[in-house]
């Protein structure tokens, strides 16, 4: 999910890679490659600006590498939730900084949720629709779905957003329900045939 290869076929666990990277910084490359796509997508969905997403994603990995020697896996936590906690904080900081500069409010009105042609080449059909539909979720719902897309489990999302699992499940349920409503509204007759 997090790279071109699904996690199940990666022989080394995150914990093993972290241990190697803690001993030898060069080994961080493997962690970067495993999570670069997911972190970037998450940043892009939150910031809706490819350039800003690249900047923040770079910052996330820089911070993670610096902080890695002090990282310890704890019960109920994981490297992934730790990394996305850093990403979450970096995004919040970036949004705050933009607001301070009074850029974001102006920019928010100008944001075009249509994908650019080069993004459209990667996202086809229903994928594009889903991304657009996510714009109609609440901030919590969008962030949560974004973390799901990034490959985090409910427990990991709870850690990242500092909420309990019940809140995560309920919010995700409402987000999916909202997307279903949007789907029905958006695709007309065909959608009404969805069973269940």
């Amino acid at each position: 999910l997090l790279t071109h290869a699904p996690p199940e076929v990666m022989a080394e666990t995150d914990a093993a890679l972290v241990a190697r990277a803690q001993a030898q910084r060069g080994a961080f490359e493997a962690l970067y490659r495993r999570y670069a796509d997911a972190v970037y997508w998450y940043c892009l969905r939150e910031l809706r600006d490819p350039d800003a997403a690249e900047d923040v994603a770079s910052e996330v990995f820089a911070k993670a590498l610096v902080a890695l020697p002090g990282y310890q896996e704890r019960v109920g936590s994981s490297f992934r939730s730790w990394l996305f906690r850093i990403a979450h904080n970096a995004i919040v900081d970036a949004v705050r900084a933009d607001r301070r500069n009074e850029k974001l409010d102006a920019a928010a009105n100008l944001i075009d949720t249509e994908p650019t042609p080069e993004e459209a080449a990667l996202l086809v059909g229903q994928q594009r629709w889903l991304l657009e539909a996510m714009e109609h979720l609440t901030e919590d719902q969008r962030r949560l779905v974004g973390l799901r897309l990034a490959g985090l489990t409910g427990g990991e999302i709870a850690t990242v957003l500092e909420r309990n699992r019940s809140w995560v499940d309920t919010t995700y349920f409402r987000a999916v329900a909202r997307l279903r409503v949007l789907l029905d509204a958006g695709t007309g007759e065909e959608a009404t045939n969805v069973r269940g």
Partner: protein, 880 residues
């Protein structure tokens, strides 16, 4: 969303989503979730697998490395090492598995006493096979010679031939179907609605298509008309159904109510049932009067069984212990089944188990150290199987590994023409040499890794669909795409291919359809009734022919098609210098095109021919601001020896006269490019394309490398200087949000892959968005929102004349550095555009013999018909 929306439902959804992100068995769907929600969550999960642009990934890395470099010089070492190694994510090579002795896993399988007279008959048959120890083995249409181990392997019975009535085409699961498939890009013949779809592969026998939906209904549908013949409704939703099998006038269907049904294939009348006690994630096989099936979709266990096809009596049954059971393959007196794989973790214990088909007695076991979720394929004396740890070829008699390839997959392989076709989790279909495992070709299918991307092979063509509805036909021998069409629903299972028709079980947000694709009446009529000299492949038609050096075109607000024709130069020697002789005349024009004929609306426009190079300039493009037409004229001015002429943008008046609206030559005189290439024409430039942007035009100056913004009767300014590297900017596209996309022609020898498309953001930032292109003359944004580019000529020579005239392409972007061709083998295209009808229009040639007189064409391509080749296609006269 229906059902309980309280804590129970949300917890169930949370658990289900967790299992998806962990890559666990998507078959374990909580019963509290409705089908639409399950499908939506599945699609959301798939969305997370879309890779980011490689360029973005590299930029993040570079920025990240640079940030650290400022803080920590130690990073420099790492940066050097890592950046040079930066590559698409690879997969760790797994530890090499080995066959395991029988004794180690005997407890896993619990044989049940043989229970039928049929067993005795099978034993007799088996004993007969024992006598055969060497010779040729046949399976389907493939033959291998070889020495066989004594006492185990039998010749393949005649019944195990390729047919469309069995999942994967036969009991050996080779993935072949009788075919033939459609000879060209097909259209939808009919669509039959089913319930929750997308999981059961359709099978076809005696003119009836059979498919099981995930709501537990088996449908029998007339294969010619798409009308229902009968249905069997059962209770309980199937987690997944791999499909029924049809043989001897009987349909054998494992249904989600835990019952295995035998039904009359024509009437649906029940013949017998067998209580399996569990749901099935396996398609049955029928061979020699015996039905082989398996149940058990969860790690809690399952069973493999053999039933008498006539009576349903159990011949043997083997329980699996803490193992799920996938679709069995049966050939040569042996049954092979993948078992284990409690989830898709690489560490999960999974094995290929070989049983004697007559008794169920285990012969050998091969542990892959990684989950197997699909059927093995048996060809001759080899078992081919895919797993999380790669693709394996095993000896049928001993389980000994013959070769291993690191391509991991959860989809069943197909074996045909000495190749093993494997849909990998890298969104790519691989062809491996069946004998050696060496890779022969790859084909990008964008199939999301799952149990998906299984191909069906018929007549040397591999057919498959992806979750986005793309249907591919791929030449098995070469890996070259034969055609591609797109359905509005996603495809997750392999098709049946028989009698010129492809049958898919497709799904859109949980609603399934059985879809038949084949040659429609229109294309049949075209191919049959039209003289060959004037015929064109389906999807191609001609708007106008007999043109002379057509260039840019556009549609007026009233729909009228306007075309710039660059003319032929003339008799006047305007410039005579070494290597640069300019011959001019008033031979260029702007025309409208209607009814196949071009009618000149503005004549006597100056044209110039660069004699040594054969290039022609004149009217280069015509575009509209509001309802006012403007023409871009190049090749005039002092550089070109026309003291009174002006290179610029001219308004076309109602009477066809021209009024200068932007003096580009004058502006260029005082605004040279940053990097002047040796062939820069000087102050007048060689303008190529013009595109409206708000109240202005963007204009590319090919030799100068400028991108100029010109407001008619207003300001002219530099929009971007793209002169560095002398890539020769040509085509322009402007998106609704103000981004400009620029293609480059490059310079001789027009090296393959040396061109690209850059984006110029409204703030002036220039970035590469599409690389790996060749000699681009135009760029457009299609109705699907995706970039298209015209490539003048590919596979160019390293020596003069470099270009060739039959390798032009129109390509569609599929990724930052990838493309798919929608038009191939064309004369060198100049301009492309999309009409209000959604079709692609392009004109050609960019160059040609005899100054291009009368050989210009505007062609129309219906993209819904799939990619088209212009090889051997000649445009007929379109204007009487």
């Amino acid at each position: 969303m229906s059902g309980d929306n309280g804590a129970g439902a949300s917890e169930a959804l949370g658990r289900y989503a967790d299992s998806l992100v962990r890559g666990e068995d998507p078959a374990d769907i909580p019963p509290t979730l409705d089908a639409g929600t399950v499908e939506l969550v599945r699609r959301l999960n798939d969305l997370g697998r879309v890779p980011i642009p490689a360029a973005a990934r590299e930029r993040i890395w570079n920025t990240f490395s640079a940030q650290l470099g400022q803080e920590d010089r130690e990073m420099e070492t790492m940066e050097r090492v890592v950046i040079t190694n930066l590559r698409p994510v690879g997969r760790p090579r797994p530890a090499m598995p080995t066959p395991r002795p029988l004794a180690k896993r005997q407890t896993r399988w619990h044989g049940r006493a043989l229970s039928s007279l049929a067993t005795a008959a099978l034993i007799v048959a088996m004993l007969g096979g024992v006598l055969m120890t060497a010779g040729d083995i046949r399976l389907g249409n493939i033959q291998f010679g070889g020495i066989l181990p004594a006492g185990l392997w039998q010749d393949v019975p005649a019944e195990n031939t390729v047919d469309a009535g069995t999942y994967r085409g036969n009991a050996a699961r080779t993935g072949e179907n009788p075919g033939p498939g459609p000879s060209s890009a097909p259209e939808v013949l009919w669509s039959f609605p089913i319930g929750l779809g997308g999981y059961s592969a359709p099978v076809i026998e005696d003119g009836i298509a059979y498919v099981i939906d995930a709501d537990g209904v088996l449908y029998a549908v007339d294969a010619a008309t798409g009308t229902e013949r009968w249905r069997l409704e059962t209770t309980g939703a199937a987690p997944a159904a791999w499909g029924p099998a049809v043989a001897g006038g009987t349909v054998y269907a494992p249904m989600p109510d835990g019952v295995f049904y035998a039904l009359d294939a024509i009437t649906g009348e029940q013949r017998w049932t067998y209580e399996t006690g569990d749901q099935s994630c396996a398609a049955p096989a029928v061979l020699d009067g015996v039905v082989y099936g398996a149940v058990g979709c969860t790690p809690q266990g399952g069973a493999v069984f053999a039933l008498d096809a006539a009576s349903g009596a159990e011949i043997w049954r083997v329980e699996t212990d803490a193992s799920r059971a996938a679709t069995p393959a049966v050939a040569g007196g042996m049954l092979f089944i993948a078992a284990g794989g409690s989830n898709r973790q690489a560490s999960s214990s999974s094995a290929v188990i070989a049983l004697e088909a007559a008794t169920g007695e285990q012969r050998w076991e091969f542990d892959t150290n990684g989950a197997i979720f699909s059927a093995p394929a048996i060809v001759a004396d080899t078992v081919y199987v895919t797993s999380a740890t790669g693709t394996y070829a095993l000896d049928v008699a001993t389980g000994e590994q013959r070769w291993h390839h690191e391509i991991s997959s959860f989809s069943a392989p197909a074996v045909a023409d000495d190749l093993v076709l494997v849909s990998s989790d890298r969104l790519v279909l691989y062809a491996l040499d069946a004998m050696t495992g060496e890779e022969r070709w790859q084909f990008q299918t964008m199939v999301i890794p799952a149990y998906e991307g299984e191909v069906t092979v018929a007549g040397g063509v591999a057919y498959l669909g992806n979750q986005n509805g793309a249907v591919f036909a791929i030449d098995v021998a070469t890996g070259v795409e034969v055609w591609q069409v797109t359905l509005e629903a996603g495809i997750h299972v392999p098709p049946a291919v028989v009698d010129g028709v492809i049958y898919f079980n497709a799904s859109q947000y949980g609603t399934g359809s059985l879809i038949a694709l084949g040659a429609g009446p229109s294309s049949a009529q075209d191919s049959g009734a039209t003289p060959s000299a004037l015929s064109a492949p389906a999807g191609i038609s001609f708007v106008a022919s007999g043109l002379t050096n057509p260039r840019g075109f556009s549609w007026a607000p009233d729909g009228t098609l306007y075309l710039a024709q660059a003319g032929t130069g003339g008799d006047n020697v305007l410039v005579e210098a070494e290597g640069f002789t300019a011959l001019g005349g008033e031979t260029s024009s702007v025309a409208t095109v209607s009814g196949g004929c071009a009618t000149v609306v503005s004549a006597n426009i100056h044209s110039v021919l660069w004699k040594e190079a054969g290039w022609i300039w004149g009217a280069m493009d015509v575009e509209f601001l509001g309802d006012v037409p403007y023409v871009l004229i190049s090749g005039s001015g002092p550089t070109w020896g026309t003291g009174n002429g002006v290179t610029g943008v001219f308004r076309i008046n109602a009477d066809g006269s021209l009024t200068l609206a932007a003096d580009l030559g004058g502006w260029l005189a005082s605004n040279p490019p940053i990097f002047s290439a040796p062939d820069y024409a000087g102050r007048d430039g060689s303008e190529f394309d013009m595109e409206p942007m708000g109240d202005a035009f963007l204009i590319s100056v090919a030799d100068g490398g400028h991108l100029i913004k010109a407001v008619p009767d207003g300001e002219i300014s530099l929009y971007a200087d793209l002169s560095e590297g002398h890539l020769v900017p040509t085509g322009i596209a402007v998106s609704a949000d103000g981004n400009a996309y620029i293609g480059f022609e490059t310079t001789p020898p027009y090296e393959n892959g040396a061109s690209k498309v850059v984006k110029i953001a409204p703030d002036g930032t220039v970035s590469d968005v599409w690389t790996g292109l060749t000699a681009v003359t135009d760029v457009e944004i299609g109705p699907d929102g995706v970039l298209y580019a015209a490539e003048m000529s590919i596979d160019n020579a390293e020596t003069d004349p470099f270009l060739n005239s039959t390798s032009g392409r129109i390509v569609r972007q599929t990724g930052p550095d990838s493309l798919e061709a929608v038009v191939t083998d064309a004369p060198p295209p100049v301009g492309i555009g999309f009409g209000a009808d959604g079709a692609l229009y392009f004109d050609y040639p960019a160059f040609g013999p005899d100054a291009g007189v009368g050989i210009g064409v505007i062609a129309r391509v219906d993209l819904a018909m799939g990619p088209v080749s212009f090889a051997g296609v000649e445009a007929p006269p379109t204007c009487a």
